[in-house]
């Protein structure tokens, strides 16, 4: 008989993945080139994100961080290169497979992107209604749990316009985790938030990873947040138009591979590392 105190593993993804799951990284990006029409924004981007890792994509304004996120979430197609989601070529999948992969992702957009015509409960409940066989009562209760996890118990019937920016972001996080995704993407989670709310959101990110072993990819230039939550970070250099650093943030700060990385991680406006 097993030890009753041994934690049970979290649920496997809804779609079985190919091969040995533990050997395959959650996300693998190979030689990615991103372009708008003929204009290449970034090229030669390669990295992997391990399961349960908190991975930060950082860089200055306009460096293409959000564009990388759009490629990772399938909103944009790479000009060249491959993006693998648990070993599967995400972009090349057929519609059904693509939808199945998307259901295993959750995205928190920069402005929350809550549907303004729906209440918070309806916002969180919509993915549950669309992608599970749960009845209305179960959906309502799970919605309440999700909102409670982000500190919004009792706000089920509120519309997004009636709550503050920080609450909107937390409600959007509740929607992002509605389906217990394997991978969560955050686009500038702390933008527009006061330091306390931003720190609370960081706590939630850490808690979600600790509780659900979720792989988390965060796009941000908030240094406090980067040093607090990131296991590893990728630096996009707007001048070089490619990635110029990859590693734990504190290691990159102590041994910066370029002057730009040094300036970014030490908030300095000039000088060599």
């Amino acid at each position: 008989m097993s030890d009753p105190t041994t934690p049970a593993p979290r649920l496997e993804p809804r779609v079985p993945s190919r091969g040995n799951r533990d050997e395959v990284p959650a996300i693998e990006v190979r030689d990615l080139t991103m372009a708008y029409g003929d204009r290449v924004v970034m090229s030669d981007i390669s990295f992997t994100v391990g399961r349960g890792e908190i991975f930060v994509i950082m860089g200055g304004s306009g460096s293409g961080k959000s564009t990388v996120l759009k490629h990772l979430t399938g909103l944009r197609t790479p000009a060249t290169g491959t993006i693998l989601f648990e070993g599967q070529a995400f972009s090349a999948d057929d519609d059904d497979a693509r939808r199945a992969v998307l259901q295993r992702m959750g995205v928190l957009y920069q402005n929350g992107a809550l549907w303004s015509g729906l209440t918070l409960a309806e916002n969180v409940g919509l993915p549950l209604r669309e992608f599970t066989a749960l009845n209305a009562r179960d959906i309502a209760e799970i919605t309440t749990v999700k909102l409670a996890l982000v500190g919004l118990r009792g706000f089920e019937d509120y519309y997004p316009a009636a709550i503050s920016g920080g609450m909107r972001k937390r409600a959007a996080l509740a929607r992002a985790i509605a389906l217990d995704p394997d991978v969560l993407f955050f686009d500038e989670p702390s933008s527009g938030l006061d330091p306390v709310s931003a720190s609370r959101l960081d706590d939630l990110i850490l808690e979600i990873r600790a509780s659900f072993s979720t792989t988390i990819v965060v796009v941000t230039h908030d240094l406090d947040s980067i040093f607090r939550i990131a296991d590893r970070a990728l630096f996009l250099d707007i001048n070089e138009r490619t990635m110029t650093a990859l590693g734990p943030p504190s290691a990159l700060r102590d041994h910066p591979p370029s002057a730009e990385v040094h300036r970014f991680l030490t908030r300095s406006s000039g000088g060599a590392p």
Partner: protein, 374 residues
């Protein structure tokens, strides 16, 4: 393996044995159902609740939901709830979910009929006051232009003028032509019965010049330009561009509303005259085809009856309709709310308001014209 939850009592402890894989893809067991049998059949007094997770497989939020129901059960029955045997993350998640107390609010009693009517009346009064205030602001801004206190952004003005001249001609042409044709058809059918087919030109002339030319142009422009004004200003409101004007000390009415209202105000009479000509031409074509009336006969009949005051009345209506379209569109745009659907609502209400006011203005002007024998 499907999620299972079985309850039994032992020495005053209600033990919930959790097993299998818990997934939100399937309806999870409910705590109340699970404990009902165990408590009923034994009848023993339960002193505490505990969990046994030895056969628990994989889990997600569905298990958290079950445990929260369990916590609620314990609170209702004042029982201690022992979660020590659960996977370590679960008590933490339970604590997190309950970290912020539920926001409870007393629902206000539903208002009675009298209160609802009163509230509605107050809202209407508020809307009316707002509309009058806005109209006053536009009038003051226009007056400021005359005394050179207000500076008109000419570029915006010319954009509106262009959009409501060459840009509006195709749709105005089509609708005015069809209205002229319809009126002529009506005249041919009705007047021919009395042997007065010749008077079709009277009907088309009077109809287009006094009523239909201005009215149809007004309705077209309310749907086209009024809606565009509301959508433009509404989008600017949502993106805080209007606030940016205000905080800079620039009155949005001077900078955004006046060029739009003046633009449509200037163009509506011209479009009305154009619609009059096109409508009459449409009527003439039908008369020539169905009554063998020559163009000369049609025009001589028309000019014998129609006076310049008929044409001027139509033009005056065009001026009034132009002001209504501009003011209604801009006012609704500036009143736009903060959500994504707000622009749509503003646009709709701008068009509805403009058309309603145009019809009402038409009735008032016709009544005054009848009084003055114009």
């Amino acid at each position: 393996m499907q999620a299972t939850a079985a309850a039994h009592t032992r020495e005053g402890t209600l033990i919930i044995a959790l097993g299998g894989d818990w997934s939100i893809d399937r309806a999870p067991p409910r705590f109340a159902h699970t404990v009902a049998k165990a408590v009923d059949s034994n009848g023993h007094a339960v002193q505490r609740v505990a969990f046994d997770a030895r056969t628990l497989g994989r889990w997600d939020t569905s298990l958290l939901l079950f445990l929260m129901q369990g916590q609620q059960f314990c609170e209702q029955h004042a029982l201690p709830c022992d979660t020590d045997a659960l996977p370590e993350q679960l008590p933490r998640l339970l604590a997190l979910a309950r970290a912020v107390p539920e926001r409870t609010q007393e629902a206000p009693p539903p208002p009675g009929v009298v209160t609802r009517v009163g509230l509605r009346a107050l809202r209407l009064l508020g809307d009316l006051r707002e509309a009058v205030t806005f109209l006053g602001q536009v009038a003051l801004s226009a007056a400021g232009l005359v005394v050179r206190r207000t500076r008109l952004p000419w570029r915006d003005f010319w954009v509106v003028v262009q959009s409501n001249s060459s840009g509006a001609l195709p749709i105005v042409t089509l609708i005015a032509l069809l209205v002229g044709v319809i009126m002529a058809f009506l005249g041919v059918v009705v007047l021919k019965r009395f042997g007065a087919g010749y008077y079709v030109s009277y009907l088309v002339g009077f109809g287009m010049l006094r009523e239909m030319g201005a009215l149809m142009t007004g309705i077209i422009m309310a749907g086209r330009t009024g809606a565009a004004f509301a959508a433009e200003l509404g989008s600017m409101k949502i993106t805080e561009e209007i606030d940016a004007f205000t905080t800079l000390g620039i009155a949005p009415v001077d900078y955004l509303v006046l060029p739009r209202v003046l633009g449509i105000f200037c163009m509506m009479p011209l479009l009305t005259v154009y619609a009059d000509f096109i409508g009459i031409a449409g009527g003439m074509l039908v008369s020539a085809t169905l009554l063998d009336l020559s163009f000369r006969q049609f025009f001589s009949g028309l000019l014998a009856a129609v006076t310049i005051s008929d044409a001027l009345l139509g033009v005056l209506k065009g001026v009034v309709y132009g002001a209504i379209i501009g003011v209604a569109g801009c006012m609704k745009g500036l009143q736009t709310g903060a959500d994504a659907g707000a622009v749509g609502r503003s646009t709709t209400s701008a068009v509805v308001l403009a058309i309603t006011l145009i019809i009402m203005a038409n009735a008032v002007i016709d009544w005054l014209a009848a009084l003055l024998d114009v």
